[in-house]
């Protein structure tokens, strides 16, 4: 199934891409997502996404634990935020 993956700010700069369509297995969770990303982007690119200070949002909700993806889900990798 297809999901969309977004990269913001420093991740977008480092990867050179802001959005990709990704093929993941049905009911993919955190680890299957990273497996698919590694296939798509290579492990060098995926390593920074695993850093502790990178948050993952699924459909604009931060997910700290496990999750289960559905077709068309929007996954976003968020570096540390700061507004104001």
């Amino acid at each position: 199934m297809k999901v969309n993956v977004l990269f913001f700010a420093s991740l977008k700069e480092d990867l050179g891409v802001s959005e990709i369509e990704l093929d993941v297995s049905e009911l993919a969770g955190r680890s299957a997502l990273f497996d698919s990303l590694t296939i798509e982007l290579g492990s060098d690119c995926v390593a920074p996404l695993l850093a502790e200070n990178i948050s993952i949002a699924v459909n604009r909700n931060i997910e700290k634990g496990e999750f289960v993806l559905k077709p068309g889900d929007e996954i976003a990798f968020l570096p540390p935020i700061t507004g104001g």
């Binding site: 977008k12 604009r60 935020i81 700061t82 507004g83 104001g84």
Partner: protein, 159 residues
């Protein structure tokens, strides 16, 4: 009823203040406002500007949660938050918060609370374009200390 906007265009404190006064009504006794600006220097470095990025939809939601939490804590008549994105040269306006309340303690506290949480909880990324190289800004320990100074953090924290 509150107003939350993320935009690349500049904003006008005068317009936001007027709009606030109209919505707030006859029992508004206090309007507190804050505008954040791009400083031209940061330590020893010259800053030519900021580049602000956001996540459309999620950013607005993160601001709504902050405002909602402020409304839970204080008695507020109206809140306006405008946050700019894109490339902002030095001295540009970045962010505006206007809060109307019957009484000044609530207006001041809520305005400062919203700014403190925008620093640490709102979904923005900020790159400083500096004479010594561009850097992505992170919230400082001081920013987190100010957030944590508001007793229990808000449930919507993404941290």
């Amino acid at each position: 009823m509150d107003e939350i906007r993320v935009q690349s265009d500049d904003f006008s404190l005068a317009d936001e203040y007027l709009a606030c006064g109209e919505v707030a009504g006859p029992d508004c006794g206090a309007i507190a406002a804050f505008v954040g600006l791009v400083r031209h220097t940061e330590g020893d470095a010259k800053v030519t500007g900021l580049h602000l990025e956001h996540y459309p939809g999620m950013t607005e939601k993160s601001i709504e949660k902050i405002v909602e939490e402020a409304r839970n804590r204080w008695s507020l008549q109206h809140v306006r938050v405008v946050h700019r994105i894109g490339v902002l040269p030095a001295r540009s306006q970045i962010v505006l918060v206007v809060v109307a309340s019957s009484h000044r303690p609530d207006a001041f506290a809520a305005c400062e609370f919203i700014m403190d949480f925008l620093k640490t909880e709102a979904v923005f990324w900020k790159k400083e374009m500096r004479s010594d190289g561009d850097i992505w800004i992170k919230s400082t320990t001081g920013d987190y200390a100010r957030r944590d100074g508001w007793e229990s953090g808000i449930s919507s924290s993404i941290e």
